[in-house]
Amino acid sequence: MIAAPSITFSGAAEFSGAPLFDNITLEIKGGEWTCLLGPSGVGKTTVLRIIAGLDSAVNFRGKIISSDGKTLQNRTAYMAQNDLLFPWLTLLDNVCIGATLRGDHVEKTRAIEMISRVGLAGHEGKKPSQLSGGQRQRGALARTLMEDRPVILLDEPFSALDAKTRADMQELAAELLTDRTVLLVTHDPAEAARLSHQAIVMHSTGLQHIDMPATPPVRGIDDPQTLATQGKMLKILREGPQ
């Protein structure tokens, strides 16, 4: 994998003539996890979609600059709340889908290795309907790893999972996506407190950086500093910018 670049996202977006966010500058550090929190409808997912180069219903004026000066096109991988595994394909074929869709050579051996890395060895031939919610999201993670992109965009990928599975998945993702530039959009302050190198709360008025504990992620779920940071974030989310 090539070195993961930093990304600077700056600009304004409007939806049907009304401003969604105005002149924000978001610095996403290379090789680190940046969590973007905020109330619903503030535009977090829109920011992620614009960086991913996906269609969004908004009119965006601004720029996205990567530290290595190259375009982000074909350098991002995307994971959403829904695992987006194709129900008609086996897990192995789902993990290989990127190469299939591009017409590239399908590296089955590497795909089997990725499946094994996410703890799903032996499930390669199963259809998504035969897997649990947590296993499906692991499958989606294996597919993301298979793409081997330096920039990973995660749009609430763990929010539909139960508490235990979510905690397991957070640790697994943090371990496997080390050294990549990760932008995680989440509603969950606990998740942001555990996983972020830097956490930013997005308000309708702008961005607010949160002071993170000195310990590196992944932080323990019962670590006092993590819990204090989580509480601080929740307070900001409830009471607005401070």
């Binding site: 991913a52 180069g53 996906l54 987006l84 194709f86 008609w88 869709l101 259809k127």
Partner: protein, 243 residues
Amino acid sequence: MNWKHGIISAIVLIAVWQLTVTLTGVASFILPSPLRVANALWHSRALIAEHAWVTLAEVILGLIIGSILGIVTAINLATSSTARAILRPILVFSQAIPVFALAPLLTLWFGYGMGSKIIMAVMIIYFPVASAFFDGLMKTPSGYLDLAQTMAATQSRELWHIRMRAAMPSLGSGLRLAAVYAPIGAVIGEWVGASKGLGYLMLLANGRVKTDLLFATLIVLAVLTVCLHLCVDILARRLAKDH
């Protein structure tokens, strides 16, 4: 539909039919009893089978050609906005013309043989197949398309591996409708002008007041349609498997 329920329904229907004939004493050329119809079915089995093969061939060929044309149209409409702009109004307008009204014209153009009946069947099923499949192709879950876009999928591979696969249940619905409509098209074509087929045999039996043969033919046609529907239903279920 449970087959046991089907058998019970058939028994009830035959009982009501027999009861009506017995109680009203209606003349057999108006409404023959189930027994007379069964008798006609048995004695004319070779004749009915000969005509049934023709109708079945027309229906199956119509179904195959109509489905292929419908599928190709749906793909064109789904992938090209120009095709949508040009073809859609034509398609909608074409549905304002009852296909049945074109039957005499088709017989004039394509003769009394199987050709005009196959074309009738094709015309009647083309729109439901095209419309159902197009609808499915346009309703691919947006998350799938987002994923494909971030993976730099080519348009043709996205169409083949995602959009078409995701639209298979819709295609199955269209084919189910087509299996029911296709025999109607073929039989109407036969009524207008033919020398073979169940529709022709029904007209012939009616003209000669052989109402029992008419009923026997009708029953064979209904059984053929149901069998065809069941076969297509199995195919449609396979298409929708895993969705």
